[in-house]
């Protein structure tokens, strides 16, 4: 039967075609594919900007003078400063590019830390249950109930005590975001583990006599973490927003330690009323595009993961039927 051979091919596709984002791209079509590609392009743009910032940027992010003297303050875009300069005389273009580096660092640090802790806690608490589970649920609910930005502010004060070097600032932001995000991973993994716990394949491991760690490690972990790439992308955009929010409120990273879009926006607030649009526009756009890109990737993956939300465009359906008829 043709159906059998097709599924066989699909299951034995090379491993790199079965990676999360790539497999999603392959099964998408129409508008959904457009959204996914737009999101991927924006996200890749962020990564490449972060990697190549030192090469592309004409100046350093904390540079307000060069051999020819101090930079002009709040000067409009011209040949030398293509996106103008800020109130402190920094080049807006360079700062926006370097801001991508900070964003990527914070996203990676925050999401990686929260993913490991959240998944581990969710797995153990969901499978073993009992008092540990109850305590963890209450604790996580408490964190959930807290306004996340307020919590992030408190954490950043606790961690960095007002000082903000590059590392300290990034870690302060990352840790504060981590604390806010752990409950999300915890919740998702715990709910999934509780559902899977009643599945016959977990019970069949139990009747064989497998230990709890073996059940969690071999049977639950890989089945419970399927939705994580999705939360990962959505949280990445939220992490960036929290970072920008912290920076905007003045709890972020000092301008001399690293470039940070939220902080620049904060500085640009007074400029806006004076008709100086370039100091706020570009960091703002950077935030919007990055969040948009990450969210588009996340949402498209969400839709594509669910066969009921997945659309097959008419063109693709036609092509498939023709191919099937020819074969």
């Amino acid at each position: 039967m043709s159906t059998i051979t097709v599924t066989e091919i699909k299951a034995h596709a090379p491993w790199w075609l079965r990676l999360p984002v790539i497999s999603h791209l392959r099964m998408s079509s129409g508008l959904q594919r457009g959204m996914l590609i737009a999101g991927l392009v924006l996200s890749l743009l962020l990564v490449f900007t972060a990697l190549l910032a030192p090469v592309i940027a004409p100046f350093d992010f904390a540079q307000n003078r060069d051999a020819s003297g101090a930079f002009p303050r709040q000067s409009a875009p011209d040949d030398k400063f293509i996106w103008g300069t800020t109130v402190s005389g920094y080049d807006v273009f360079s700062r926006t590019l370097y801001g991508a580096q900070t964003a990527v660092w914070v996203i990676i640090a925050a999401v990686v830390m929260s993913i490991f802790l959240g998944v581990f806690l969710g797995l153990v608490s969901g499978y073993l249950g009992g008092w540990f589970d109850r305590v963890m649920v209450v604790l996580n609910d408490a964190i959930y109930a807290f306004p996340s930005l307020l919590l992030a502010i408190v954490m950043s004060i606790v961690i960095s005590q007002g000082q903000s070097s590059l590392f300290g600032g990034i870690m302060a932001a990352a840790v504060s975001i981590t604390v806010v995000f752990i409950p999300q991973y915890y919740r998702v993994v715990r709910a999934e583990v509780i559902r899977l716990k009643a599945e016959p394949f977990v019970e069949s491991a139990q009747v064989i006599g497998a230990s709890s760690w073996r059940v969690m490690g071999t049977h639950l972990l890989r089945n419970a973490t399927r939705t994580l790439p999705l939360i990962f992308t959505l949280n990445a955009s939220e992490a960036l927003l929290t970072l920008a929010g912290l920076g905007f409120l003045g709890f972020g990273i000092e301008p001399t330690a690293a470039s940070e879009w939220g902080f620049d926006l904060n500085r640009a607030m007074s400029d806006a009323t004076g008709g100086i649009w370039w100091t706020g526009l570009f960091p703002g756009l950077a935030i919007v595009l990055t969040v948009l890109g990450l969210t588009l990737v996340g949402e498209s993956m969400n839709d594509l993961n669910d066969p009921r939300l997945r659309r097959i465009s008419r063109k693709k359906a036609k092509r498939m039927i023709q191919k099937g008829a020819a074969a």
Partner: protein, 558 residues
Amino acid sequence: MSHTHSEPNQVLSVQDLSIDFVTDSGPVPAVRGVDFSVQPGEILAIVGESGSGKSVTARTALGIMAENGAARGAVYLKGQDMLHASGAQLRRARGRDVSMVFQEPSTALNPVYTVGWQIMEGIRAHNKIGRRQAKARAVEAMRQVGIPDPERRVDYYPHQFSGGQKQRVVIAAALALRPSLIVADEPTTALDVTVQAEILQLLRQVREELGTAIVIITHNMGVVADIADRVIVMNQGLVIEQAKALDLFENPQQDYTRSLLEAVPHLGRSSASKDLESRAHAEKPVLVEARDLSVHYPGRLGAPGFTAVNGVSLEIHAGEVYGLVGESGSGKTTIGRTIAGLNRMTGGSLRVLDYEMADFRERSFKPLREQIGFVFQDPAASFNPQLTIGQCVAEPLNVHRSLGPRETRARVGGLLESVQLPAGYAERYPHELSGGQRQRASLARALALEPKLLIADEPTSALDVSVQAKVLELFLELQQQLGFAALFISHDLAVVDMLASWVGVLLRGELVEEGLGSRVLSAPQHPYTQRLIASLPVPDPREQAKRRALIEQLNLAQ
């Protein structure tokens, strides 16, 4: 191509219908060139195994088509083309001309509305009538399907009804507007046999009183024999045979139909305890001994608990197949799970391999686990989808024996071969195997450590009959070869009779009858067992008519 419009006296006419589904892996043909028609007041059964296209075919009568489906051909319902009808035309026809009864009554009803509201919904969608009038018609519809005290129960919520009564409500909603055709998609599959007999009786009565034509989709040959006037046998999207019910059962024309009929297990034919006079293994050591075993599930705060097993005493001897029969909720699965240490018992005594389960500790029971194998009901769910079949079968070996990878692989290959699967299947993932193959792999896993006791919880109820026959045959063969004792749990009396020499019948947590399989099933003593056996539809219309009379007698006697 041109299609003739249906003759006026046909309710449904399906002409050269083909359906394709577009999936990720390409278009899949589901139905190929199907032709049939339904006369007024006729009961047509469409039988076939899973994936034969019987459901999608019948659903086109209501214009229901999955979003990724594409149909060609023609389907005329009372002269109206249902494949090309607009949304408004379909809405007008549904409920008034044709309606549907679904498989699972508990999911077909919305739990947050009263059943009366749900019956009225269809009435009010088609008629501009007041609430009170609509309710009166809903009460009338409920009375018609035999729900006692409909004036009061019209305001009940679905959870206040039993499964069989819920299905009656679904049928009442389908009948409310007196459609000329009802499509019933496996209407009794989710129900117990005694309830199934009642629902089939109701459908027959509906046809006689209202002259409604019924298209019943089923995989159960017994149901077909019980109710159908005419039968269509489908396989892989094609109509294999179309005949009057009597002709089909007595004189099947096609090989496929014949093999399908042969695969249906018959009560009394090839019974495991055919030539036995007494319990064959009575002398052998006792592996499982239950004395007044009870399992009680505590209720939620304030609510009373539920006693799943109540004072059951039974013994399983070495080398014996013990068949445990009962309807849903009778506690048969709970007993099996308690013996395997998946549930905790709450009263009495249960000794499993000389281990008292009342003092159960996972740590002290673990060494005994390798002597107990377990086969689960749903072969699709009992394998970890992320591991290959080989890794799954090797699980028990990895946990209890420390063999090298090469030796493990050799053992897995041998195990797969013993259940008649090629050793190469070890590299495949569970979803790449068919249901029957998966269940055989599941058997291989349960037997990996050569257990003394195997617990099989409805191992074949999720399988098609032809596949079921092969799996049962294999089970018998392995049991005779390896000589393990087995607790075989099933709701299907015919299957239990084939495998088990000693049979116990459970009713609401109590063991009401126990004895030699052939004796319990041919001369049942307890009235419940009698009813259970009389309700089991047999794939023979003449024999089935006799049984129907017997059920009515039993019902009268009650």
